[in-house]
């Protein structure tokens, strides 16, 4: 599948440039003093907040959809001219021939939280609160279809933190069946109290900045993000300039182990990675880089690195890193966030640092010692060197033991 267009908004900023700048400077988007912190004074942590989401206005016809999640979706669709590129393809093929599949874990639940918090009675909220268009789990798909004028097949995938990686498998199926000419895939998850308190109850929220793979890592920082990609089997050099990057393989699996704890050896994760590499028609050894799910919880990072190391041979010289230190864990949007990161890494021939890593966990060092895998501590700029990125993979794993891996390929690397 060719990438016709993509857009991303995270705590690092809107669109490609601020993200590449942050990678180059090693600057995190995480903060311990965001607006959202005021809503949860009892919790000490860093958050990856997108500034100004609450002041985004929606067009009149879509006002009933007003909630933080759809505001972030709207902001993201307006970024990088993404909505205009979708419009070009709709004019070309018609709204019936474009599909849309997006991931989210909590949809617009923040709106319902607000109603309980302010103890509003039925009379005062009935005019403005519309459950069906805010919290209801498919709100994001309804909203994006109407915002983009899409009328093809469409739904929300909600499999926790793998949601917006699994959307790529759906896009493949629709395109392969010939029922659409292009698909908008993506995901949006926005800050809300239930996820912060829920992860906190599980003891998974770090009181400091998150430190993926570090020996002192102690949990996640929750972030928010929105991202979309426009995919097609064809390239459209006339109206829209495509990226030199394509989606080469998607793999999915289940842990069948525990509802909220990953398998210690990353058994399910291995199955997803293998399925993706089989579809991309490459060996795992041929991956130049893996963007880890790398949440910075002790159990996730151990499980994932174990899984990766099981699949790698002695000759593997792959880079691996987590970018959660830049954005926080954007949950249902983590898949699309990091898959767009992989696209940009291939375009720019750049690997960002595994931010906030001081001392690589010695158990992970042992796991990785069997192969030549390395974790970049500084940003790597590969242009002009003899190392290139051609195949990269992004991992996304969620509660319920739900795994997805997506491999991206750059056609030719100069």
């Amino acid at each position: 599948m060719h990438i016709i267009a993509s857009t991303l908004v995270s705590a690092l900023g809107s669109g490609k440039k601020p993200h590449i700048d942050a990678w180059t400077e090693g600057k995190s988007g995480l903060s311990q003093e965001t607006n959202f912190h005021q809503q949860m004074p009892e919790i000490i942590t860093f958050l990856g907040e997108v500034k100004g989401v609450e002041s985004v206005t929606l067009p009149k016809a879509l006002e009933a959809f007003l909630c933080r999640n759809n505001q972030l979706a709207w902001k993201t669709l307006q970024t990088e001219g993404f909505n205009n590129k979708v419009e070009v393809l709709i004019e070309k093929f018609g709204p019936n021939r474009i599909g849309l599949v997006v991931g989210t874990s909590t949809s617009g639940i923040a709106t319902t939280e607000d109603i309980f918090r302010h103890k509003l009675d039925a009379d005062s909220y009935s005019d403005s609160y519309c459950y069906q268009k805010t919290q209801q789990m498919d709100s994001l798909a309804q909203f994006c279809c109407q915002a983009l004028n899409i009328e093809g097949p469409s739904f929300v995938i909600s499999t926790a933190c793998s949601s917006s990686a699994k959307v790529f498998a759906v896009a493949q199926r629709w395109l392969n069946a010939g029922i659409v000419d292009a698909v908008v895939v993506g995901g949006v998850d926005s800050l809300c109290l239930t996820t912060v308190h829920g992860f906190n109850a599980l003891g998974l929220v770090s009181p400091t900045v998150c430190k993926p793979l570090d020996e002192s890592r102690d949990g996640i920082n929750i972030g928010e993000a929105g991202g979309f990609m426009l995919l097609s089997h064809a390239k459209f050099s006339d109206e829209t300039s495509s990226s030199p990057v394509e989606i080469a393989g998607v793999g999915e699996s289940s842990d069948a182990y525990h509802i909220s704890t990953p398998h210690p050896e990353g058994e399910g994760a291995q199955l997803a990675m293998l399925a993706a590499s089989e579809q991309a028609n490459i060996g795992i050894d041929e991956l130049d880089y893996i963007n880890l799910h790398g949440t910075a919880t002790p159990s996730n990072d151990l499980s994932e690195v174990s899984g990766v190391s099981h699949l790698m041979s002695e000759k593997s010289s792959t880079w691996i890193s987590s970018t959660k230190g830049f954005t926080g864990h954007t949950l249902g949007a983590a898949g699309i966030t990091e898959i767009i990161f992989c696209q940009w890494m291939l375009e720019e021939q750049m690997v960002p640092a595994n931010l906030n890593l001081m001392n690589l966990d010695s158990i992970l060092v042992q796991k990785l010692a069997r192969s030549n895998i390395s974790v970049p501590l500084e940003a790597l700029h590969l242009s002009g060197t003899n190392r290139k990125l051609q195949y990269v993979m992004s991992n996304s794993f969620g509660f319920g033991g739900n795994n997805a891996s997506v491999i991206l390929k750059r056609e030719s690397v100069e």
Binding site: E113, I115, V156, T194, H197
Partner: protein, 269 residues
């Protein structure tokens, strides 16, 4: 797009399973909606997991289990560790309302079990654990377009995985704790499951399902649907046609909305 239906499960007030529904349809009886869904416990789960399941999760698991058990009886030679697709509009609204209430308290406190049960793919997660099944599992939400998108996704999954797929479409009315003031059309939960195979020709007691996309506006069905109100129940006329198929008096096509202005035409053959 064609797929063979290999087995069916059905749960709703007044409907114990698909076989009883079929008998009722053949003898022209109407379901008695005042009969609550029978108590169910997912015995295939380890005790720890079993006691953590909620009514929403149990509805999905019961309906999945019915289709799987009859599939295993009919096709003992086929690997029963199938990819699964769970389709539900709202998920567990009792949990989401309780969580929203909890975070509004002076000292917010969410139970860890409640939190991990709140994910939309909780039933899928429990199902895969209980079945020791590492195949892909998906959980989607698509409101009123559930039947068309659910069937399409299940058929395409079966094509791409090259094996049968278990699809469960289940919906419950919003919990009373939800601050929703609109009058709900239904108080009845409704769930059905199908194991569909688009990968090969296979003998079955059930008809072949053919799907095609159309923009033709469907004519309104004159038949009454006692369960109207939740999206899953929109499959009632389809299930009725399947139940009556072998007796030969139900052959008409059905249209299910896929998105605004688009439909999936479903024919049985």
């Amino acid at each position: 797009m064609k797929a063979q239906i290999l087995s069916i499960g059905l749960t709703a007030p007044g409907l114990v399973n698909f076989e009883t529904f079929k008998k009722m349809m053949l003898t022209n009886q109407l379901p008695d909606l005042s009969k609550a869904i029978e108590k169910y416990s997912p015995t295939f789960l380890p005790a720890n997991e079993r006691r953590r399941t909620t009514a929403t999760i149990q509805l999905a698991l019961k309906t999945a289990e019915e289709a799987l058990v009859s599939f295993q009886q009919a096709y003992p030679e086929i690997d029963a560790k199938l990819p699964v697709l769970f389709v539900c509009k709202d998920g567990d609204t009792l949990i989401s309302a309780r969580m929203c209430q909890a975070v509004s308290e002076e000292e917010p406190m969410i139970s860890p079990t409640q939190f991990h049960n709140s994910v939309h793919n909780a039933p899928a997660g429990y199902w895969m654990i209980g079945q020791e099944n590492q195949a892909p599992a998906s959980a989607i939400s698509v409101g009123e377009y559930a039947i068309a998108n659910g069937l399409l996704e299940a058929v395409l999954q079966s094509q791409s995985y090259g094996k049968p797929v278990l699809m469960v479409i289940y919906d419950l009315p919003l919990d009373e704790l939800m601050p929703v003031d609109t009058v709900q059309k239904s108080k009845a939960p409704f769930a059905f499951s199908m194991i569909l195979d688009a990968s090969k020709v296979i003998e079955s007691d059930y008809p072949l399902l053919s799907l095609s996309l159309t923009q033709d506006t469907p004519f309104k069905s004159l038949k009454s649907n006692p369960y109207t109100g939740v999206p899953a129940a929109e499959a009632y006329p389809l299930l009725q046609s399947i139940a009556l198929y072998q007796s030969g008096h139900e052959k008409s096509d059905m249209h299910f909305p896929l998105n605004r202005n688009n439909f999936i035409k479903v024919s049985l053959g």
